[in-house]
Assembly symmetry: C2
Homo-oligomer: 497 residues x 2
Amino acid sequence: MASVYRTEDCQFTVDRDALIRRLGEALHGDNLLVDDEAMRPYECDGLSGYRQMPQVVAIPETVEEVRQVLRICSEMNIPVVARGSGTSLSAGALPHPQGVLLSLARFNRILEVDHERRIATLQPGVRNLAISEAAAPYGLYYAPDPSSQIACSIGGNVAENAGGVHCLKYGLTVHNVLEVTMITMDGELVTIGSEALDSPGFDLLAAITGSEGMLGVIVEIKVKLLPNPPTKDVLLAAFKDVETAGNAVAGIIAAGIIPGGLEMMDGPAIQAAEDFVHAGYPTEAAAILICELDGSADDVEAQREHVCRLLEEFGSEDIRVAQNDDEKARFWAGRKAAFPAVGRISPDYYCIDGTIPRRQLAYVLQEMQKLSDDYGLRVVNVFHAGDGNLHPLVLYDGNVPGEFERTEELGGKILELCIAVGGTVTGEHGVGMEKINQMCVQFQTPDLDQFRALKNAFDPQGLLNPGKAIPTLNRCAEFGAMHVHHGELPHPDIPRF
Amino acid sequence: MASVYRTEDCQFTVDRDALIRRLGEALHGDNLLVDDEAMRPYECDGLSGYRQMPQVVAIPETVEEVRQVLRICSEMNIPVVARGSGTSLSAGALPHPQGVLLSLARFNRILEVDHERRIATLQPGVRNLAISEAAAPYGLYYAPDPSSQIACSIGGNVAENAGGVHCLKYGLTVHNVLEVTMITMDGELVTIGSEALDSPGFDLLAAITGSEGMLGVIVEIKVKLLPNPPTKDVLLAAFKDVETAGNAVAGIIAAGIIPGGLEMMDGPAIQAAEDFVHAGYPTEAAAILICELDGSADDVEAQREHVCRLLEEFGSEDIRVAQNDDEKARFWAGRKAAFPAVGRISPDYYCIDGTIPRRQLAYVLQEMQKLSDDYGLRVVNVFHAGDGNLHPLVLYDGNVPGEFERTEELGGKILELCIAVGGTVTGEHGVGMEKINQMCVQFQTPDLDQFRALKNAFDPQGLLNPGKAIPTLNRCAEFGAMHVHHGELPHPDIPRF
């Protein structure tokens, strides 16, 4: 089990009986869970290597109940961790041992779909896919599509700034949210953003999006809806090494083409996917690109010709254009099944999420291979290549003592490699508990001070999701010392771009 | 002359001799102006009704000099107002009477145009148009195009979140900036944002963009470059009343079409423009729409047909499609010359900037006419109709005693009308000094508290551009009292959307 909260994150004094009594008065019916058995499903989120039971689980039904929970916790100085569907892959919804786990699961209503303004108004517990389903009768959809979209909630999407396969062209959650209404730790209802392009005063919507539950608890969200593209084409191109595949990605973007999706898989990922879903992938290839082009029929045709020409110029000897909907679905099937496919060839796998400049792709893959050799752990690579978002999957066996810990350490090294080449430690999963040490590598002290000042401006008591996302000075000092112990800062001699 | 700073904004103690001595040591050559004559050009910005001399004008040449100026002012507790090209229309760069006016004019280098990554790296004093000029050899351009783009600086654009005719489709400055490096009031260099889509930690880039010089002084900016659209079409449609023109705008957007530009002019604006530039506008029309469609040739053709059909359905009896580049330029000429054209028919004019939901256009125009009658001041209307951004021009004569003050008051009423229908007090000009009272109407106390907390997190001494953008409690109390004196809150019975 990974070490999670630090002692300094757990300096709260909890009178559990009093907490239960006061929350019980504020919440009605079965909206408060206090028994271990009932709370067990909340002990972890999608990163199940990290587990922690909370003091209680509150499942409010109304905005007023949320406000009451926050006011009580503020008065009693008790931490609060908000949770949507619990699909976070960075342990963003991991409970605090001294805190209340606040589930927004009952805020699951779509309040309005306005097809003229192309805006959906949502409660935070609405599932991502349900938005597009509700918009479908109007020919509209909600663009960000995390792979957990059947289950994950829009509130969690906002908290973690979720992405998906199509965010290269259509943006992350932050680019698709118009307005967020949230309750601050002292119980004030604040609305941030609007339907207008400009914000009077400070534009805090982006700061709230991806703030990982540290600034407030979201109770209502307005998102943009987009018209379904009339046409989609899907291409598959095979490469004999990952470097040329990486160069082709950079070449497509440099040519001014922004595909709807531009994904890359390396040899082991291709093999695992092919064995699982029989998509017809070229298993002899060292890398494949899957490229989706969307828009008007003429546009897509022109782009397809251009992309095919580029892929050829960049050295692909096997370029396939899906001829019908079945084939389009098959080209995607392998990519979409890549994670479960990897699950078939290894007892466990750990999905890393980092971002690098596209041009560093080849170098990073080569360095990752070295790290994989050093740690004796296999790494399978699946990328949102177009936006440089890596998802290396580290294969391990949780039943072998110490292997999860080594996997975690390797994951950390991969993130530090991303930073070293000018990238970042998050692509779309957030920092949460998982990547908090790497935040010490990503940022200098003045940057972290600025983050802490912002946190303090919203939550001066430090009660919202403490111990996550923004590391303390002590943590960084300790983690930094660890670095010194291991030698120099990682990769001082990497080529800067 | 408008009253500007309040007494409470001017509680600093300045030892001017010591300030001049210390800044003189930090800046070399002629980088410090202290004589009235030399400082006179800095006494106002584009909103020349507001004037104020600073204590001194500093014109640093290096990042280190900017840092020194800020450190000295921090130590001496002296306000600092940063200025780009001084084209703000909301008095955002109005000097503080007890402060240093910090000009970034010498930071005028384009540091890099990377056409492969489609990113330009800029010093803040670079002129907006110079970016597109530098990108032109690569078929790229920078999208936001405020009407002052020949003169205005990218640093000022970021500070005010500037827009332009094309921001309906391509966004405001906030949607086109990737990274900002700034110096905080205590002299720390902080880089916010990155080329990656997601931000680890809090995403503060949007909060910095449009923060009106209140959080830090920007010293470097990275912006996105876009490929020039292959084709552009320009349409002009005349309407016999503004209401149907407004409905046509809403109809085009609701049909899923986002034109490159969608502008509206009312009868008086049409007449003034036609008299000035002889664009061939239908002077008998009550309103015209100018619609630019851009993209691939086929896309543009399909959209043109769709838009023409919609315009007809919504009641336009005169729809013209520009047949060649000359005619396209002519259709735009009247719109682009609208402000100077109005300058020909009135000794002075005052340009208001507010945003409303598109569907409220007709109601707002009707209410503005009433206000215009009440105040006995003519109002000419030019809009970025597609995004609901109004630019009413109030005609007045600055030589008639009290007329500027009445104009200002009418401007305030128009902004309050925007708020009342669910809009905001800024479209693209910022709040600055001009609209600070209306911020008290736009926001509730908890929202303003949140803004102040953010300001305090970045600038605890309150030295960066004090008295602008975020009103004090006292100001709001006083302005609120004024409202009560006048009666109820404005327009309690307007139709809510």
